[in-house]
């Protein structure tokens, strides 16, 4: 049986929802970051899934694009982690709800 494109979308949607839920419910800042990463990768997966439905030439382009996204995401994760470490140093807390003193 061939892998249906819609199944990939279902998996991607499930991953995205999990990621979003983690982001919104967890208080530990590292889990929040993980959730964001998960959601991002779900989007990548979704992109590949849609690319699969296209004719071969365009399909390849769609499948390559996530590679670049992953590369950029890796860089972004570095920056994100570095920022979190700096925030952690100044706040001495990993609770994201404590990071609210930017307002005045």
């Amino acid at each position: 049986m061939e892998l249906q494109a819609s199944y990939i979308q279902i998996v991607a949607l499930a991953l995205f929802t999990i990621g979003l839920a983690v982001t919104l419910t967890r208080r530990n800042v590292f889990f929040v970051l993980m959730g964001i990463e998960l959601a991002l990768n779900a989007v990548n997966l979704s992109l590949i899934g849609f690319a699969k439905t296209l004719p071969a030439a365009a399909s390849v382009a769609g499948q390559i694009l996530p590679l670049f996204t992953i590369a950029v995401a890796a860089a972004e994760a570095c920056v994100g982690l570095a920022m979190i470490i700096l925030i952690f140093k100044s706040q001495e807390s990993v609770d994201i709800d404590n990071y609210s003193n930017m307002k005045g």
């Binding site: 979003l20 982001t23 919104l24 208080r27 929040v32 994201i96 709800d97 990071y99 609210s100 307002k103």
Partner: protein, 648 residues
């Protein structure tokens, strides 16, 4: 038949080996063993010379061509790494590698006990590599690679003793002034590319294109760009070959070690401009207006530098100005489309000027670095062989009958006279310059070798003849400066070997330039007699003027008074035309523009800060709540777009 790429390969290998030796011994105090380093340093130039000789013997008339690969392969430009070994590059390569080998041997003696022994020879080998690439390249772009390479080596070697600020400044000056000329070369190439694509950068293709356009009559369309290209190439040549207006770097370049002055700043590198003119002879004969400029610039340079040579007290500076003056002669010859004669003068000049420089180097070496001629004198008895070499070089440069310079200078003067309506006037000035040449060179010989010794006592104690490794190259070069001229002795029927060698390359161009000229028929003996007379009159003037006690040396060796203003006229010109405007622009950028930009930056930063302060008020206390809100907002937008189909 051995492949062409061996010729540049040998010096390149030498450079790499010597660089490794120099780097690996950089921590030790002693430096690498001079015997091994010296052997490597001399071996590779000699191998290169031997391959040139081997190739020269069996060369067919049309030359040898060899491509070793693709260099640049883009849609706009395609250039191959190809070599062209024909009559012109053969002559150039023979004396470049030959004299290069001799000077490498000489340097082993001269640089004895210098801590940077290996570094010096790495540079020399790199120079020979670049110079062979320059001459051997079959396209302008490859020639440009060598052109830049020799410029770099010139810079490195002028500032070789880099602990002295004066030397590094001289190196910088040479490099920067050369860059100005190089811009001309680059733009010239650009002109050619815009006429007919990158194919025209290859010499063969350029010649074929010019011939084709000439026969079709379509050349007149391209004429403005061709003239511009020729002018720009000539501007490049004035930089490399130290002609007006870019000549100020060459006298300063004497800060380098003397073998470097002999090899780079007299025999080989500075003549690459003349080489380029001869190589592009087919282009230049089509644009006689530019050739007239070449003639005029050459004439002016030769005369100006000859006068400047009279005022110098530094023995190497005299030789530097005489080099500029002789280069002026070469450009004059090229200016009347006598390219073979100009290359012949390059050839003979390489011998006698290298001999003169090496002789001067031996004098400086034995006087432990004294370069001021007012502190020399009477060295004839103490250094007889060196004096002999110098006197041979002297007789050659003033054009004493039979010596190398006589034949080539005589041919130049003759071609100048018959070149056209302006010929006799140009000839007269060139002949006057020859007289002045004899005067200042006579002054050099008299002040150095005759009279009484005027230097310090401690130097006098150890004046000695140079060691064998220095003497043998000097003597070989002095033999060359005596006999090299017989390769094309205009007065002896049949002795035209040199002209015949160059004829396949420049012959067609020259006969085109002579088209419609009715050459004045004068006996070559008249020119020879007048040239000889000029040399003898000059010598007599020098004898009368300078065979008397020399005033005691005070202060530096720079000329004073009128001499200084004449010598540094072009430095002044550069000051006003180049340096001061650049400084003004730099000041404008630094103070005015920079301030404006900084103010603009502060303004932008200030606005953002104020805005940020305002927006901060909107922050919700809980980060997660905020993320959820932004997600809901995003979802709402998506739903709206879905409903209204993006028509919102």
């Amino acid at each position: 038949m051995i492949p062409l790429w061996l010729i540049p390969l040998f010096p390149l290998v030498g450079t790499i080996v010597l660089a490794i030796i120099a780097l690996s011994s950089s921590d030790s105090k002693q430096g690498p063993a001079e015997s091994i380093t010296g052997a490597v340093a001399v071996l590779f130039p000699i191998l290169s010379f031997l391959s040139v000789v081997t190739l020269s013997v069996g060369m067919p008339v049309e030359g040898i061509r060899g491509t070793i690969g693709t260099w640049i392969d883009t849609a706009a430009i395609q250039v191959n790494i190809g070599f062209l070994f024909d009559g012109l590059s053969r002559v150039m390569l023979l004396f470049i590698t030959g004299i290069g080998s001799l000077i490498a041997i000489y340097s082993v003696g001269y640089m004895h006990k210098d801590r940077s022994f290996a570094r010096f020879f790495a540079y020399i080998n790199l120079f020979l590599f670049s110079m062979t690439i320059l001459v051997l390249g079959d396209s302008l772009l490859l020639t440009f690679l060598g052109w830049e390479g020799v410029g770099l080596c010139s810079y490195l070697l002028i500032g070789f003793w880099h602990t002295d600020l004066k030397n590094t400044k001289a190196g910088n000056k040479a490099f920067i002034v050369n860059r100005v000329g190089d811009v001309g070369f680059l733009l010239g190439m650009l002109c050619l590319v815009s006429i007919g694509g990158s194919a025209l950068l290859s010499y063969d293709a350029l010649n074929a294109w010019l011939l084709n356009a000439l026969s079709l009559g379509s050349i007149s369309n391209a004429m403005p760009l061709l003239s511009l290209a020729g002018l720009l190439f000539f501007f490049g040549c004035t930089g490399k070959s130290a002609q007006i207006p870019l000549l100020t770097w060459l006298p300063d370049a004497m800060a380098g070690p003397t073998p470097v002055s002999a090899l780079i700043h007299a025999a080989t590198m500075v003549t690459s401009g003349v080489y380029l003119l001869a190589r592009l002879s087919n282009l230049f004969v089509l644009i006689p207006a530019v050739l007239n400029i070449v003639l005029f610039v050459g004439l002016l340079t030769a005369f100006w530098a000859a006068i400047a040579g009279l005022f110098q007290n530094d023995i190497k500076k005299v030789l530097a100005y005489s080099t500029i003056s002789q280069l002026g002669y070469m450009f004059m010859a090229a200016g009347v489309a006598a390219f073979d004669v100009s290359i012949f003068h390059v050839f003979t000049h390489a011998f006698f000027k290298a001999a003169l420089f090496l002789g001067a180097g031996a004098v400086i070496h034995s006087l432990t670095g004294e370069q001021d001629m007012r502190r020399m004198g009477g060295l004839l008895k103490k250094m007889p062989l060196t004096s002999l070499v110098m006197i041979f070089g002297f007789l050659a440069i003033i054009g004493f009958p039979g010596f190398a310079g006589f034949w080539s200078k005589d041919l130049i003067l003759e071609r100048l006279y018959v070149s056209g309506p302006m010929g006799p006037y140009v000839y007269a000035i060139a002949l006057l310059t020859a007289v002045i040449t004899a005067v200042y060179m006579g002054r050099l010989i008299i002040m150095t070798f005759f009279g009484k010794y005027r230097g310090s006592k401690e130097n006098e104690a150890h004046i000695h003849e140079a060691p064998a490794s220095m003497l043998i190259p000097m003597l070989l070069l002095s033999v060359g400066s005596a006999f090299a001229g017989f390769l094309w002795a205009g007065l002896i029927p049949g002795a035209e070997f040199f002209r015949e060698m160059l004829a396949p390359v420049v012959g067609a161009a020259q006969s085109y330039a002579m088209l419609g000229h009715t050459a004045a028929h004068l006996s070559p003996w008249i020119f020879a007699a007048l040239g000889t007379l000029a040399a003898i009159i000059g010598m007599l003037i020098a004898w009368y003027l300078f065979m008397r006690p020399v005033p005691e040396a005070k202060g530096g060796s720079e000329p004073q008074g009128f001499g200084a203003s004449w010598t540094f006229a072009f430095d002044k010109l550069h000051e006003y035309v180049g340096i001061i405007p650049t400084k003004v622009v730099a000041w404008l950028l630094d103070v005015v523009v920079n301030t404006i930009i900084m103010k603009a930056q502060w303004l932008t930063g200030g606005i953002i800060e104020i805005l940020g302060d305002g927006i901060r008020a909107f922050q919700v206390r809980k980060v997660r709540l905020q993320a959820a809100l932004s997600f809901i907002g995003m979802a709402l937008i998506t739903i709206l777009v879905l409903i209204y189909g993006g028509l919102l």
